[in-house]
């Protein structure tokens, strides 16, 4: 029997809020691999993810939806495909208060081409403005990419749910048109 795919991936640069988002969405305490951040120049926060985040949403019928987060720092790039394997969709988090955030976003789109070409990816900007949301939509269309872009605070469950709803709609349509 082919298993139903049920893994959603959270990607994005350091400090974008992947660990935070998975904590917010998980039914139980999410598991993570946080260690002390020795590179406060890169991003000033106490800890950083070195391998993965893991959380789950329990559905009524005993099924689980697995939430995986990657370590965002670029030197962990070799780990990304390991964590990403089998994911049906992804939320790309970007922190618009970081200096090079637009290029960071493009970097991650390049690193996960499969999720981008199948359209199974939602861009979730945090600490950004309506204006920045429009900028990103414009930037994507100039790259010939057509992806949903939202403003999302990863500490806010309601906003994350909206992001997931869009991903679900995306996956439903993908499933239907490839049936």
């Amino acid at each position: 029997m082919t298993p139903v795919h049920n893994k959603i991936l959270f990607i994005g640069p350091m400090g974008a809020g992947k660990t935070t988002a998975i904590q917010t969405l998980s039914d139980d305490m999410a598991a993570n691999t946080e260690v002390r951040n020795s590179n406060r120049d890169m991003y000033d926060k106490a800890t950083t993810t070195v391998a993965m985040d893991y959380g789950a949403i329990q559905l009524d019928d005993e099924q689980l939806v697995h939430l995986y987060g990657i370590p965002g720092q670029k030197h962990f790039e070799a780990v990304w495909p390991v964590i990403a394997k089998g994911a049906i969709g992804a939320i790309l988090l970007v922190n618009a208060s970081q200096p090079d955030w637009q290029n960071d976003m493009l970097y991650f789109l390049n690193a996960f081409p499969q999720l981008v070409t199948s359209g199974s990816l939602v861009v979730a900007i945090n600490r950004g403005s309506d204006q920045q949301q429009l900028q990103i939509l414009e930037l994507l269309s100039q790259q010939n990419l057509c992806l949903p872009v939202l403003l999302t605070d990863p500490r806010d469950r309601g906003q994350l749910v909206m992001t997931l709803e869009i991903l679900i709609a995306n996956l439903e349509i993908e499933t239907l048109i490839h049936e």
Partner: protein, 140 residues
């Protein structure tokens, strides 16, 4: 997204650590190389010969990931936290050991040749780790 050198490790500390891992390697047989990294995956020093086609920065990141997973696995199995972990290969062992001081959290990775057994490998790596821990206390 440039990789910046880790700011918390001073050059003197780096040099002292390099000294210790070189000693450790020459003092016990079977070690192919040692690599010391921060727990968030930045290489501090290593003894990987330039002739070998190995990228120390990549190895540092993966050793940190591996240690991170080991810790997570231990915690989720109610074993609190991991001290180290072992990878068995057909070409010898890879062993990670975590080293913590009040200011630093590091990972020491050692690669052994095919002839070295588990006991020997763990014993020699423990010694090396103790030496490094000593250095860390000194420079705190």
């Amino acid at each position: 997204m440039n990789n910046v050198a880790t700011p918390l490790i001073s050059n003197t500390l780096r040099a002292a650590c390099l000294e210790r891992i070189k000693e450790a390697q020459s003092g016990s047989g079977g070690i192919e190389f040692l690599l010391l990294a921060t727990s968030d995956g930045y290489s501090i020093c290593h003894t990987i010969p330039a002739s070998q086609d190995i990228q120390p920065s990549r190895l540092a990141a993966m050793a940190a990931s591996f240690s991170g997973i080991s810790d997570g696995l231990a915690a989720n199995a109610n074993k609190q936290s991991a001290n180290g972990s072992i990878i068995e290969t057909g070409h010898g062992l890879l062993v990670c050991r975590q080293i913590k001081s009040s200011r630093h959290e590091l990972v020491l990775l050692a690669a052994y040749d095919k002839s070295t057994n588990h006991g020997l490998a763990l014993w020699s790596l423990n010694n090396a780790a103790k030496q490094i821990a000593n250095v860390l206390e000194h420079y705190n």
